[in-house]
Structure formats: C-alpha cells, structure tokens
Symmetry: C3
Subunit: 320 residues, 3 copies
Amino acid sequence: MAGSWARLTESSAAVRFIDTNLRGSGQVMLQDNPLTGLLFLIGIGWSAVVSGSPQLAIGAPVGLVVATCTAIGLGVDRTALRSGLFGYNGMLVGMALSIYLAANPLFWAYLVVGAGISVVVMLAMVNIAKTWGVPVLTAPFVLTTWLMLLGSYNFAAISLADLPPPALPSIHVASAMPLDSLALVDAALFGVSQVFFIGNAITGVIFLLALLVSSRWAAAYALAGTVLAIAVAQTLGANSDAIAAGLFGFSPVLTAIAIGTMFDTPRPRVVFYVAAATIFTVITQAALNSALMPLGIPVLTAPFVAVTWLFLLPLRKLVL
Amino acid sequence: MAGSWARLTESSAAVRFIDTNLRGSGQVMLQDNPLTGLLFLIGIGWSAVVSGSPQLAIGAPVGLVVATCTAIGLGVDRTALRSGLFGYNGMLVGMALSIYLAANPLFWAYLVVGAGISVVVMLAMVNIAKTWGVPVLTAPFVLTTWLMLLGSYNFAAISLADLPPPALPSIHVASAMPLDSLALVDAALFGVSQVFFIGNAITGVIFLLALLVSSRWAAAYALAGTVLAIAVAQTLGANSDAIAAGLFGFSPVLTAIAIGTMFDTPRPRVVFYVAAATIFTVITQAALNSALMPLGIPVLTAPFVAVTWLFLLPLRKLVL
Amino acid sequence: MAGSWARLTESSAAVRFIDTNLRGSGQVMLQDNPLTGLLFLIGIGWSAVVSGSPQLAIGAPVGLVVATCTAIGLGVDRTALRSGLFGYNGMLVGMALSIYLAANPLFWAYLVVGAGISVVVMLAMVNIAKTWGVPVLTAPFVLTTWLMLLGSYNFAAISLADLPPPALPSIHVASAMPLDSLALVDAALFGVSQVFFIGNAITGVIFLLALLVSSRWAAAYALAGTVLAIAVAQTLGANSDAIAAGLFGFSPVLTAIAIGTMFDTPRPRVVFYVAAATIFTVITQAALNSALMPLGIPVLTAPFVAVTWLFLLPLRKLVL
C-alpha cells in the first residue's frame, strides 16, 4: 500500500500536496510519515467528536494547509517541503490559536496570518540553528503563538477564550495528592494527547499507534517519556490536577522522542542520557510555568525545545 | 553641492567629523546620507521649538557625538565609522534617556555612559550578527536603553520623568474608536516622526523629505508602512489614542524601509513580502507592549528589530 | 611543592581527581590553579564555622564533585576537564541551591540533578559560544539555577528557604546613605566574598590571597573592581544596605578579572576599557535586579556574564 501511495505522489500533484500536508502533521512528533500524520488528524477528529468542540479539528488542518501553501508560494527548498517541515508549525499555531482565542470572522484572518508567518519564522530559525547542526523543533510555533496571543491583549477585535489572567508567580500552592491506578493510566495517555492540546485517552492511544507505524522506538520513547514524567512530577510534589490532565507529560514525551531517536540503538548510556533530559524537561516545564505567569501566556512546547537543544548541542563532542 | 561637500570632507578633518555625525543621524532610518541626517536634526529642532521642550534637541546631538567620539577612540573600522554606523545608536540612546529620565547634573554623566556603551554593544552585536549576514539595526540602542532605564529604578540620583509604573499586562482595555480623516493624516505623519520619539506632523513631513533626498523608495516604503500600520491597528481594534499618536507606526515604518530597500525593484512578490513584515510588526508591537508592562520599560524599536531579523534571515535561501 | 604535586597528579588517579576538583573550585574566579581552589574552599569553610551555617560548606563540594564525575562519565574533552572547566558551574549550583532552598532528603537529589545538568548545559553553551571565540563564563550556572529555583515554586516537596516573593519592580525605594570608612572596607571585602554567596571580610581576604597565588593581576583587578563598584553605586544613589553587604560588588569583581586578565599588561587604554566594563556591570546589576523581581529569582552572576560578553566580543576587531 505504501508503494502505491508513493507512486501516486509522483504522478499526481494533488496527491503530492495531500502527502506533504500529512507529513507536516506527522512532523509535530518528528515523523516524516504520511500515515502517522493521518492518524494524528484522526485522533484530533475523534476528540472533537466526543468532546463536542470542533475548534481543533478545524484549526489544525487550516493552519497546516495555510503554512504549506505559504511555503510553496515562497519557493522554499523542495526536499524539506516534501518532508512536511513547513507544515507542522502552522498546524500547531492553528490549534493553539483555536483553543486560546474566541472564533469570529477576524479571528480566522488572524489565524491565517499566524500560520503563514510561522513559515517565515521557520526559515529564519533554520538559518540560525544550522550553524550548530541542531533542528529548530517546534520553536517557530512557540514564538509565533506567543506573539499572536500577547498581541491580542491589545486588540479589541480579537478575544481571549481560555487563558488565566496575568499574575505574579505563586509559590507552593500546588495540591499534591496521590493518583489512583486508573488516573495514572489516563495521565500517561493524556501526556501523549496533550502534544495536540487534547486530554483524551483514546486519542492518546491513537497517537501512540501513529508513532508505531512510523518507528517503534519513537512509540517506545513516547510511552517511557510520559510515564517517567508522571513519576518525577509526583515525586517532586507537583499539582495533582495538572499531572492528571497530562500537562506535565507532553513536553517530556517530545524530548524523549527527539533525543532517543537520534541514536540507532538504545544502549544503556543512551537510555540514561534520554532519561536525564526527560527529567530535566519536567523541571523546566515547572520553571517556565512560573516564569510566564506574569505574561499570562502558556508555555506550549518551550520546555521541550529548550531542553532538547541543551541535550543535542553537546552530542557533536560526546560519544555516548 | 554634494560634490563640493565630498571634497571638503577629504580636505578637512573637522568637516569629515561633522559629515560622520550627520551620516550617523541619517542611519537612524538606515540612510548613509549627511543631508538626510541634517534634515532629521532640523525636524527634531523644529519640534523642540514648537513644543517648548528642548530635551531631544540637546540629547540627540550629545548622544550622537559621544558615540562617534567613543568609536574613534576605540579605533573601529574606518569605513563603517564614516558611514555613520557608530553614531545612530548613541543618538537614539541620547534621545530616549532625555525623554524618560529627568535632567540633572548626574543625568548627563549617565547619558554619556549610555551613549558610549552603545558603541561597545554595537561592536559586540555586529560580531554575532555577521555570522548570518544580517545587520544589527537598532538592537544596540534598544538593549542599552533598557538596561539604563531598568538600572535607574535602583538609583536615587537618577529620576524617571515619564514612564508608567510597572504593572501586569491588562487585557482588552483598549478603547477602539474610528479616527476622522484629519486625525488619520496626523497619525500617519506622527508614525514617521515617532521614530525619533516625536509626535509632530511638520516634523513627520521633514523626515519624509529627508528620506526622499536619499532614496525615493525609502520614502515610499516609510509612507506605505505608516499607512498600512494604521489600517492594521484599526482593523484589529487597537487603542485609538495610541494609533492617533503614531505609536503603532514607527516600528512598521522602519521595517518597511529596512526590508523594502533590500531589493532593487518593488516587484509584486517583494511588495507582498514587505507588507507581511509590516503587518506582523504591528502585531509584535502590541505583543511587546504587553510583555514589557511588568518591567515598566517602553518597547522602543524592538518590534522593528525582531520582525526585520525574522524576514531578512530567510532571504539567503529564497528568491523572491 | 607545586612540582611534587604535579608529579603526584601524574602518578595517582586519586590525586588527579582531587586536583581536577580543586581547579574546578579555582575556575569560579577563572583561575586554573589547584591552590587557589583550595583557598576558596578554606574561605568557604571559615565562613561556615563563624556563621554557624554549614550549608555552603556542604553544598559547594557536593556540587563540585557531582559535576566533575558527570563530566568524566560523559567522556568530555580531557584537557578542559583537567583545567576544572566542568566543575565550577556545578559548585556554584550546589552553593546557590543550598542557600535558596531548604535542606531535606529530596533536596539533595534535586541538587545532584542540578549539578549534573550544569555539565550538559556547559557543553551546549561551549558549542555555541565557540562560534565567536568567547568563554561561557558562569552562564551554565546561572541558567541551571534559575530553572531549578523557578521549578521549585511548583514542587511541594522542595521548599524555598530565603528568597523574597515575586513582586513588580519598585522604583526609587532605595535608601541611599553614606557609609563610614569601616563599612566601606567591609563592603569592598564582602564584594569579593559574595562571589561565593558569602558576606565575610576574612573570607574576602582569603579569596584575594587565593587569587594572588595564581595571578597578581587577577587579585589587583578583583580589588579594583570591588572598590570601583562601590564608588559607582554610591554615586548613583544605590541602596546603602545592598552596597554594604557587597551585593553591588561580586559581578563587577568578576568582570574586572575576566576582561583585565585578557591582556598581558594593563596599559592605560586597557585600564579604561576594564573600568568602563566594571561601571556598566554595576548598572546592569541594578537593571537585572529590577527585571527579575516579578519572577522572584536572584540575578546571580548574570550581570558579569552579560557585560563581559559585550566587552569581549568587540576585541576580535579592536586593538586596544
């Protein structure tokens, strides 16, 4: 089936365009695989149906297609384009704005601008990051979304939907309670689904399957990442509600995939290195949660980006 | 006339020094042209006379000359020096501190330190930015001024003159009302004059003329930038008073000049690219307004710097 | 004696390990010298004895040894390791967390994670900074400690010991009073000892001696830096209590050492350049004090790092 799809992408520009977008979806979790991307969209669709809130299921494909079209219009490098590298940030911008802003006609124009700009930001960041041979990960999405959200505070025509107001960081208001087994399983699956702003166990399972069809190691690292993140957050006494909602899991999941799949085989030293990065992502998640409170913006996947850069940059000098 | 001035700069060290400083003034809007710089100073002087507040008309030349002399003392690259590249940041530091701090004897020492330091910051940033072939724009001015202002909070001998106190970002307190035609024309001209912290229509006209004598495209992009910025800010429902005062215009004006004049001819694709950058500068201006509220410092031209970098960095890879 | 110690480090792995750690201690003030590092530890021990609070005297060696062992485990570059370059950040992390967090069993695990992570951050930053030929200084310590402290706000199992709560920056609440001669001498020595979070005159003297055994210029610049910092802070009207406690001195001391010892001889132009950097470090210290208030985290040596980078980066182009 994969073979006939590959032939179709060569013969049909329309299929090629669809394939590019599906790979863009897959790249949200660093997979250059159209089936993975399709399963991600199906997982998003499932969550929209059961939750009755269709925003994500609209915002995600709109942002994805806008970004891909912008990249084509700008004449970006063809190989990178076909791998979906100019779609995933736009898709994430589309989802984030759909969740945090209220939909109205002008909102859609705002989303289109954000998704399009994410391609320019991607190109700019790639030019900088290649100096050190590291990928930009989801940094273009994070920067673009932060600016679009902060900007909206000053625009009467764009309304916030679901963000706590700016506040000074609070200290130790966390209520740390143990979670029962069922809640822990849910938390682990939510940690995976929250990469797409979704707290839904079935969606989490679909996402793990989506990783599995692309790379068994990616799926294994994702699962290990979400479990380890919960263990660390519980041990340190983080807020139980946040843990249960998977909010301490999505960045560590991405860190574990990004660093783990850099290596051919998970030797013990590699596993230790990935575990250290995953643990530090939980601490960085907590740190950025506090640091961004005065601005009222969410951390998004900034902890994943920051910690993954910190752990990828030494690899040119180290032999693990 | 230009020819005899050029001959004078060769024969007389004093004229050469004046020429270097005038080019430094011109570089505030990226023009390596002494007449442009002279007209900028005239525009500042005009505003000082009609407003009865001479601070800018003193702070601007003091900062400019201090920076130029510091650069000469440090033995910087001669070609860059003669193009005015070591003067404009000091001039802007001089103006910003003159406006935001109260004048007293120690204030002048503080201004001299700031203007001199701007040269070191310029040299440091040039060394970093050349890695990617981008200009540092007004980043040295922005960083130096932010540090000097934030530092002053802790110095009893240096008083703030005109800055709102630090506060958490407010959301949607904007009063968005339509502006009448006259107010719109004023707003457009203020957008140009606010590059120099001035809200004065005649000064705005003088500044446009100053650009015209150097480059008709620079003048055209400046005018288009301020008009487009007003249209975007109005559409999104930004605060009418801020729009009317030109406060949403000065960074987009600089973005439009900086990116527009990178190209020989304004082909449709170029115009579209410049327009996208200008629009995103308005959003970034709003975003940084919110982001800096907890620190109580003004955004200065940071939106221009950030967005222009984001749109210049991809150009090595794109053929527009 | 130095010769027999050098021979011992060659013949004995245990002595080599001790030597590496002592050099790591010395690198806190940029000295690749085991005796300097030993005297630093003695100065810390003295302060622990007279103040009756042993945290630093435990946290410092624990952080140091953890970081050195992590670096060995990661297989870092041998020459850099033996110079102590992978120890000093861990030692500083160990001290900072010991002071700002309350000790409990989990705290020690948290400290070990922080000290270990500082090595990864060091490797990452070295890879970036070498692009421009500048050292990373104490930036890995600063970044790691900020994240560990900010993260702790959300962890019920890790308690803050001694940090003012997050607050908006206050303006001009400084009480600027003249200090008498004795207080000034104390302030100057405290400025040196505060590099290690200690306000103790004897410890300050021990630290100056520690510098002297490594480099007379380092000791001279340290002394000149702390004196100049007090003069600048007093002139600008900074808070007298903070000046008296040496809190305006520790970053300028490091700036003066770092930039001053880049040059073979302190020619007048060099002295002027180092003095400018030292003065600007005082202003940057005040600025970052304000800027970090909303997050409730201390500036640590960030002013030293920022200003030293700004003054080192131009040196590739300038001949002073």
